[in-house]
Amino acid sequence: MSDPFETLAVGDPIEGAEFAVSRASIRAFCDASLDYNPLHLDDDYMAGNFGRTSFGGVIMHGMTNFGLITRMLTDWAYDRGALHRRLETRWRSPVKPGDAIRPRAVVKAKQTTGAARWVTLDVVVSNQRGETIATGEALVEFPPS
């Protein structure tokens, strides 16, 4: 059986599942995360200017992006006997009900240390218009050869 780490190449892509964002999905995330910030629930609160930002309506939790990226990475890593070890993200644009978003990743680098082998991945989440919603970097650990 081929070694999953050895067969990986810089530039290899990973594609996650599309996620349809709705008021119901946002409410489900509130209940799942216990994050009931009115940013995600209160149309009246979100209608006007919000500090230095105007959203014009309720927005999805940024951490939903984090959860979707994690799902993509763990499904990929588990299949290869690897461990998802780190994820760093920045939110670039708000997501609203009616949007459809999808995480993707690309192998950025491979490195071997004394005890393990590592893959660094560039991560991006985009919406149905091709706009970048979130960016980040992840680290996956493979066992030594």
Partner: protein, 156 residues
């Protein structure tokens, strides 16, 4: 347990620290939390997680983990579960700008979770008030589950 959780973030809002009052380096009070299988699976369903490590006991028992686990991103739930109602993390209008997390041990159903947390830094950028918070979650054996930082924009 979510039934006992205060879902009205406006309640106690006046008691929460403003950006001015947050002291970098100061610990945040936290609450212990018992992670249940139903809470894990509710979180999984909200983000479309279907892996059998989170749902299928037979599959999980035969895996490297020896039993059901939570996905690494379960800290999204743990953060609010371990945060008291009067904490500034729950201030209405708090905007999450980004996070970074490192993972050690998986959290498991039945784990008694402990959070050590603090404000780490605060600054102003493009007229927005930022606070950086750092966090470490432990299980009952004091093993690190995960550690991470978050960048939030505080309400004006």
């Amino acid at each position: 347990m979510s039934e006992a959780f205060e879902t009205d973030f406006w309640k106690d809002a006046a008691q929460r620290k403003s950006w001015d009052a947050i002291i970098p380096g100061e610990a945040r009070p936290t609450l212990p939390y018992r992670l249940t299988l139903s809470a894990i699976q509710r979180y999984c369903q909200a983000v479309g997680e279907t892996h059998p490590l989170y749902f299928d006991e037979d599959y999980a028992r035969k895996s490297r983990y020896g039993g059901l686990i939570a996905p690494p991103s379960i800290h999204i739930l743990l953060m609010f579960a371990c945060t008291p109602a009067d904490d500034w993390m729950r201030s209405p209008g708090t905007i999450n700008a980004g996070q970074s997390w490192s993972y050690n041990q998986p959290a498991r159903p039945g784990d008694d979770i402990r959070l050590e947390a603090r404000a780490l830094d605060k600054f102003i950028r493009k007229e927005r008030l930022f606070v950086v918070h750092d966090n470490v979650f432990f299980n009952r054996r004091d093993e690190v589950i995960c550690s991470g930082r978050g960048w939030t924009i505080r309400p004006a």
